[in-house]
């Protein structure tokens, strides 16, 4: 990892450790205050535990123009970003996508291309509905590796993270607590429950927390919808398309709507927020990722609405193409933050049970 970023985070953490005014905001400070000297392992863990709520920045009496020049959200965001790039496997892909929205867009267009090409080359093999455009077996051939490879990649990265932060054996309670924290997005609630600082300087609001949860729960619903579809297909021999009153649709439509609303909301908040309190180099990549998620959700809903029309093949290519890029890029885009964040929350539970 980059020593200059670590050095700066360490300098700031030492000042925070002498002050402690922000102890109540989030999980980072109790963890920080337990240390006296900050190793690379400490800083990596603190960086991934930070949810960038920015409460500490606006409360800080040492921000610029003060000579101590504290900007902990930024310092930790940069270490966090750097840690993801260094733990990524294969590593060279990470920086390209983490930092560049343009690269994400290019990959997405490439995804469309792959699907169009597959439609042309592989075709339907006599299926109906969506499978009239591309056969089910062709879809599986494309998407199974595209789903499994990122999982493998993330598993490698998380293992590296766990070693780097000197994590111990994980027990079930720690996992439950970590998921509980993520489910409520406790670390964006601001300790007092008024929310975080993001879109309007020091005003506390729930906007970012709620927008994030809309995307997260929307995504989980969509994922559950796909899983339900897979089970219906293989276990009950009920191929797509599914009617409105079916599990895939009952999960997928609200999920898609939540994702669309949540991504638009997040993007608009991100436009209002101060870029210099995050990792400025990653802004484009983060925005590109939000737009990719938006495209996945919108094209999925479009497919539901216009599935019976002549627009279907084009929409299917856009939807499947964006899903394909999304899956393949998961280890190298902002999407990966969810995995690291959960790991950091589990790691923090370990700290608490020891400390």
């Amino acid at each position: 990892m980059q020593t200059d970023l670590l050095r700066e985070a360490r300098r700031q953490a030492e000042i925070c450790n002498a002050c402690r005014y922000c102890e109540g905001y989030c999980s980072v400070f109790p963890a920080l205050h337990q240390e006296r000297f900050f190793s690379e392992a400490n800083l990596t863990q603190l960086a991934n535990l930070c949810h960038n709520c920015r409460g500490c920045y606006y409360a800080c009496q040492y921000t610029a123009p003060h000579e101590f020049d504290l900007n902990l959200p930024k310092a930790l965001a940069e270490v966090r970003q750097d840690s993801w790039e260094s733990f990524a496997w294969p590593a060279p892909l990470a920086r390209r996508f983490q930092e560049s929205g343009v690269m994400i867009a290019l990959a997405t267009v490439l995804g469309f291309g792959v699907l169009f090409l597959a439609f042309r080359m592989l075709g339907s093999a006599g299926g109906s509905g969506f499978y009239a455009v591309l056969s089910h077996s062709a879809m599986v051939t494309i998407f199974l590796p595209a789903f499994l490879f990122p999982l493998l990649s993330i598993a490698v990265s998380l293992r590296r993270y766990w070693r780097a932060t000197e994590g111990g054996r994980i027990d079930f309670d720690q996992v439950v607590d970590a998921f509980g924290s993520a489910a409520k997005m406790k670390n964006l609630a601001g300790g007092h429950g008024d929310g975080c600082n993001f879109e309007d300087e020091d005003r506390f609001s729930q906007a970012r927390r709620f927008a994030h949860q809309a995307v997260m729960y929307g995504f989980l619903l969509c994922f559950a919808s796909t899983t339900a579809g897979t089970i219906l297909h293989y276990v009950f021999d009920m191929p797509a398309p599914y009617p409105f009153k079916s599990l895939p649709k009952l999960l997928g439509i609200p999920g898609g709507l939540l994702m669309v609303i949540g991504t638009i909301w997040l993007a608009s908040l991100k436009l209002k927020a101060d870029k210099s309190l995050g990792a400025p180099s990653a802004w484009g990549g983060e925005m590109g990722f939000i737009l990719l998620l938006f495209l996945v959700a919108l094209s999925g809903l479009g497919l539901y609405a216009l599935g019976g029309t002549t627009a279907m093949p084009a929409l299917l290519a856009i939807h499947l193409g964006s899903v394909l890029s999304f899956f393949l890029l998961t280890p190298y885009t902002k999407m990966v933050h969810g995995f690291y964040r959960l790991a950091a929350l589990v790691r923090d539970e370990q700290r608490k049970s020891v400390g």
């Binding site: 030492e14 000042i15 450790n17 002498a18 002050c19 402690r20 005014y21 922000c22 102890e23 109540g24 905001y25 109790p30 205050h33 006296r36 409460g55 500490c56 606006y58 409360a59 800080c60 009496q61 040492y62 921000t63 610029a64 123009p65 003060h66 000579e67 101590f68 300790g191 007092h192 008024d194 020091d202 005003r203």
Partner: protein, 461 residues
């Protein structure tokens, strides 16, 4: 543009904002004239962290109870009786209703910070510290229609007979005047004016560091004193503590404090000890060390500890100077090495049985036959690495202020000034004659800020 205002509040910290919000809620049109730019708004309140609060049952983050008499006795202990009992009891009694009022105006509290458990019963900590309190108050004041001018330097209040007839200030490069119906001054003390401090204290004051805002220069305070407004408090005194000598000249705040003196020996620039480092627990002694350092050559001291003591105190903003030997440490800190070696050797030789060493209580582990002695925590300095810090005098606030009555009214020899009120550090000398009680400055500011706001609004309406 400023002619439309009923009330001018001079200052932009806790007391000023409490006054402004209270007056605005009573229907007055209020302008806050803050001399700092927006990023540095809030005066010394930016650096505060808690509010000392009386309570008869658990209240907000506060546990158990803290009664009026106990609170007042705590105040008597630190001031050595130099307090105005009537005003002090008003501040103490009113503090209880202030806490919910503060919450209603946007302040959020958090449990007592790690390392401050001893204050969990008496002091309510602001989540995020004083700047977050200040931020919340500015947001609330804005909603109440209070206007704020940043970088507005009030230069003169014209005292005509028994009222302030005119406020002169400069803003955006222009000199302006206006005549509000009432004026509230809550602009702190004068500690950031080094020349004034030097006149009061003497030449050593040049080497003092100012722990808080560089904007408390006492301009309006001096202007009012010149016009015969009555003062209170010893003009030559300031509250000063020993802080990390590497701290910035201004605004170093909480992170520059050093709590390691009881576990150390402290020497001057000649590597000689000059005071009993183990006299009492640190919270009871940290304030005298500001003065002790001020009396040493060049107003500087050096703390020396060994590896065993490093984890016994809160870390400071700067890592300690680290060395494998005393000679190396002396070299790194610019002390005469032989002399430091002699001092430490003599100290180590005077240490006796250390088996009863206990860092958080008076353990009676003392030196024998050493001058000055170290009467507690006297453990030889032997275990490498050896660590050092430099110490300088850090000024918190000055005691000289405006004398007020229980309605926060200012006066001259001829009686009350009918439209002038004071709140916060500007008048805290009326209550704190010497010493300091943690979190009491915010109590005075909140209580008397609200009183001043109420009285000024009543006058203006």
């Amino acid at each position: 543009m400023t002619s439309e205002y009923d009330i001018a509040v001079i200052g932009g910290g806790n007391a000023a904002l409490c006054a402004a919000m209270t007056a605005a809620e009573k229907g007055a049109k209020v302008v806050v004239l803050e001399t700092a730019p927006k990023t540095y708004r809030g005066g010394n309140s930016r650096h505060t962290r808690n509010f000392r609060c009386m309570h008869s049952t658990p209240l907000g983050p506060l546990v158990e109870a803290y009664g009026e008499d106990e609170y007042f006795e705590d105040l008597l202990k630190v001031t050595g009786g130099k307090t105005d009992e009537k005003l002090a009891r008003i501040a103490i009694r009113t503090s209880e209703e202030c806490l919910p009022w503060m919450e209603a105006h946007g302040v959020r509290f958090q449990p007592s910070l790690s390392g401050t458990l001893s204050l969990a019963r008496t002091n309510a900590f602001f989540m995020g510290g004083g700047k977050s309190l200040v931020n919340a108050y500015y947001r609330t004041a804005d909603k109440l229609g209070v206007d704020v001018l940043y970088e507005a330097n009030v230069t003169h209040l014209e005292l005509e007979g028994d009222r302030i007839s005119r406020v002169d200030y400069s803003h955006e490069g222009q000199h302006r005047s206006f005549a509000p119906r009432a004026v509230i001054i809550a602009a702190g003390g004068f500690q950031a004016d080094t020349d004034w401090l030097t006149r009061a204290w003497g030449p050593p004051a040049q080497n003092f560091l100012i722990r808080g805002t560089p904007y408390n220069r006492g301009v309006v305070l001096a202007d009012l004193l010149d016009q015969g407004v009555r003062s209170v408090g010893d003009p030559t005194q300031c509250h000063a503590v020993a802080i990390d000598g590497r701290a910035p000249k201004f605004d170093g705040g909480i992170v520059t404090r050093l709590d390691c003196v009881p576990f150390s020996i402290v020497v001057n620039k000649n590597a000689e000890r000059f005071h009993d480092e183990g006299e009492d627990v640190w919270p009871k002694r940290y304030a005298i060390w500001g003065r002790l350092i001020a009396n040493q050559p060049d107003q500087i001291g050096y703390v020396v500890i060994d590896a065993r003591s490093l984890d016994l105190f809160m870390p400071s903003v700067f890592p300690p100077i680290k060395a494998d030997t005393l000679e190396e440490l002396a070299y790194k800190m610019g002390l005469p090495p032989e002399r430091l070696l002699e001092t430490v050797t003599a100290f180590n030789a005077a240490c006796g049985d250390t088996s009863k060493f206990h860092p958080t209580e008076l353990d009676g582990v003392t030196t024998s036959g050493l001058t000055p002695p170290k009467t507690n925590w006297a453990r030889p300095i032997t275990e490498a690495p050896i660590y050092g810090y430099s110490l300088r005098t850090g000024v918190t606030f000055t005691y000289l202020g405006l004398k007020v009555d229980e309605k926060a009214r200012c006066s001259t020899e001829n009686g009350f000034v009918r439209n002038l009120w004071a709140a916060g550090e500007t008048m805290a000398g009326s209550i704190l004659g010497q010493g300091y009680l943690a979190g009491f400055g915010m109590t005075i500011g909140t209580v008397f800020g609200r009183i001043a706001g109420r009285e000024a609004a009543n006058h203006a309406n």
